[in-house]
Amino acid sequence: MDHDIVSRIEADPNYQALRSRRSGFGWMLTIAMLVVYYGFVLLVAFQKDLLATPIGAGVTTWGMPLGFGVIVFTILITAIYVRRANSEFDDLNDKIRREVLK
């Protein structure tokens, strides 16, 4: 790819928007995932009793919905990213391509 195309794309406001929005969104979700996972790990390390406490009269403990919650959260947060990327980010990308390759 020659230097000229690179500087033209870099100057394109759509490219700047794509870059900052995608990286901002990506890092925000990354931090959310890290907080949820390491929060869970630290609960396991320091609050074992809390996780082992039954929710009601039965045997099911708070740990169960929390553990499954982390699995569901992992899938959902990925879906949230993919949804926005498939629409907004791909649209921006198409605009950049049309602009540069015309």
């Binding site: 630290l42 406490t53 045997v59 099911t60 990925t78």
Partner: protein, 569 residues
């Protein structure tokens, strides 16, 4: 006379240091020859050989061999990635861990899942836009080719070697158990079939074998979970209550149930000994989380799809299937408590599981679906190992063929036919090596090998990939020195940790110089710091070229402009 004692002891061995349990299956007693399983497996082999024959007709160039010509869809690739991840050992090992200690098995499987979103958010699309055949294409995009490729090939081959040996030893032990075949015959069958898939069918055959196996495994595990839940009217509380009751009774060992026994039963519903010190917990979590984003055979799959959009869809599907799979293994583990531990037909004279704890899911298959379903699950377990070793071998072959031969030795001037030949010779060499090492390591404690592969992937491959793609000031020498620091420190610290120093090398307990479960916290930090410091200090001519190359790399990684040409030839 509490039969439970033995199982608890075994649980200690499984969940202890390393907790690296699951991914390696060793030991256990041999079963009588299981003809149903052998026939079902033969059907699988014949079907996959037909696919390989078709794939061979599609495999003409190096691009076909390494990446199936980039013609896999996001959904197919997602299944294949999930297949690479759902090894036989994680199926049998995690369900066994859940059967033994309940909630702790869930903690372990969560660790394997959480790396996927991060890979999606920060790297997946950029990988597709920058790379062609291997992750080194991405890491070396704007750098001096030779040093970065040498590093990437080392990182790939080390990870592949450890993972492959673990799978081969697991294959031998597992097939000896399930099919009643000799250990060495099992290892040779796995090696030979894997070579046929990779040699003739390349990535196309490897991907389809992986997809078929993923469907069979997900289908079989879904059926088992359904049957377990059905017994409890689809009420998890009823299933948990029954499991707690059974664990309490086992703790009492036939005597009156004391309050301690009730507490022991209830303990499967909360965290146990899996995480002892927070440093090990965080370090091991980092190895699993970031190792996922540094495993060469997983990264390679991002180059088999045609666009960044499909790459993104692949991880979405992979995450969904893997998450669902861990959900199933949890239910299967509880099903094993209520249906296997209570059935004298599955227990030996001392109250342990016939064939060892890793047989939990296999016995459950018989309990819910009879002999035919037992044969089916056994055949699927064999197919799983086969598919995973094929992917690993292909990834090793592409590191040698594409990174070392084509780029380092021939400086990018090699023709596609020669590259293909080198890759095929490498496949043969890796296949033979895997069989020989699989037999050599039969009786060694190799539980550390999979965690070692993850630690190296997280400490060497991931930092280099991450910094080269996302940090504009990263230079060739920063990446190479940091990568090797991560590689060497993660291997060295693993050797000095209890799982190798004590369990494998036989030094006295407590004498390990490095006390933690996983080196990742330290070796990853060392790698990132080295990349940062060396790049900062690097002001040579090459460093200026490296930094000047960032804008062009960034434009291509973000937009994919310029990438289409790379994947089309």
């Amino acid at each position: 006379m509490r039969p439970w004692g033995k199982i608890v002891l075994a649980a200690g061995a499984v969940m202890a240091p390393g907790a690296v349990l699951a991914d390696v299956i060793q030991g256990g007693t041999r079963q009588p020859t299981n003809w149903t399983a052998i026939i079902m497996f033969a059907v699988f082999v014949v079907a996959t050989l037909f696919i390989t024959k078709w794939a061979a007709s599609q495999t003409k160039s190096a691009a076909d061999f390494y990446t199936a010509g980039g013609g896999i869809t996001g959904f197919q690739n997602g299944l294949a990635i999930a297949g690479d991840y759902m090894s036989a050992a994680s199926f049998l090992g995690i369900s066994a861990a859940v059967m033994i200690s309940g909630f702790d098995g869930l903690i372990y499987s969560i660790g394997f899942l959480v790396g996927w979103p991060i890979l999606t958010f920060l790297l997946a699309e950029k990988l597709r836009n920058l790379g062609k055949f291997t992750f080194a294409d991405v890491a070396a995009f704007r750098f001096a080719q030779t040093p970065v490729r040498l590093f990437a090939a080392s990182g790939t081959l080390v990870v592949v070697a450890f993972y492959l040996i673990a799978q081969m030893v697991g294959a031998g032990s597992l097939i000896e158990l399930l099919f009643g075949l000799d250990y060495w015959i099992a290892v040779v069958i796995v090696g030979a079939l894997m070579m046929v898939y990779v040699l003739f069918g390349g990535m196309t055959a490897t991907t389809w074998v992986q997809i078929i196996k993923a469907c069979l495994l997900l289908g079989g595990a879904s059926f088992m979970s359904f049957m377990v839940l059905w017994r409890y009217g689809f009420s998890p509380e009823a299933m948990f209550a029954d499991a707690v009751r059974i664990k309490s009774e086992l703790a009492a060992g036939g005597a009156e149930i004391t309050p301690e026994d009730t507490a022991a039963g209830q303990s499967i519903m909360g965290p146990g000994s899996f995480i002892r010190d927070p440093i090990s917990a965080i370090s091991f979590g980092m190895a699993l989380m970031f190792g996922t984003a540094g495993l060469p055979h997983i990264l390679m799959r991002f180059f088999t799809v045609p666009s960044a959009r499909e790459a993104r869809k692949s991880v979405m599907w992979a995450t969904t299937w893997i998450g669902y799979f861990y959900l199933l293994t949890f239910i299967i583990g509880f099903g094993a408590i209520t249906l296997v531990l209570t059935n004298p037909g599955f227990l030996d004279s001392e109250g342990g599981l016939i064939g060892g704890n890793n047989m939990a899911a296999v016995h459950l298959a018989q309990a819910v679906g009879g002999n035919i379903f037992l044969g089916f699950i056994s055949a699927v377990a064999f197919a799983t190992i086969l598919a995973v070793v094929a992917g690993l071998t292909l990834s090793g072959a592409s590191a040698v063929g594409h990174d070392l031969y084509s780029t380092v030795i021939k400086k990018g001037e090699a023709d596609s036919g020669a590259v293909l030949r080198v890759s095929r010779v490498t496949t043969l060499a890796l296949g033979v090596l895997a069989v020989v090492l699989g037999i050599a390591f039969q009786n060694m404690n190799i539980a550390f090998m999979v965690s070692m592969a993850f630690a190296v992937a997280a400490s060497a491959n991931f930092p280099v990939l991450f910094m080269s793609v996302l940090w504009k000031d990263c230079t060739t020498w920063g990446a190479v020195s940091g990568g090797f620091v991560g590689l060497i420190s993660s291997v060295a610290l693993t050797v000095l940790s209890p799982s190798v120093w004590v369990d494998t090398l036989g030094n006295p307990a407590g004498s390990a110089p490095f006390p933690y479960t996983s080196p990742a916290l330290f070796s990853m930090t060392a790698a990132f710091l080295t990349i940062w410091i060396v790049s900062r200090l690097d002001n040579g001519q090459r460093a200026r070229i490296d930094r000047a190359g960032f804008p062009a790399q960034q434009v291509r990684s973000e937009t994919g402009i310029g990438a289409a040409e790379a994947s089309s030839h």
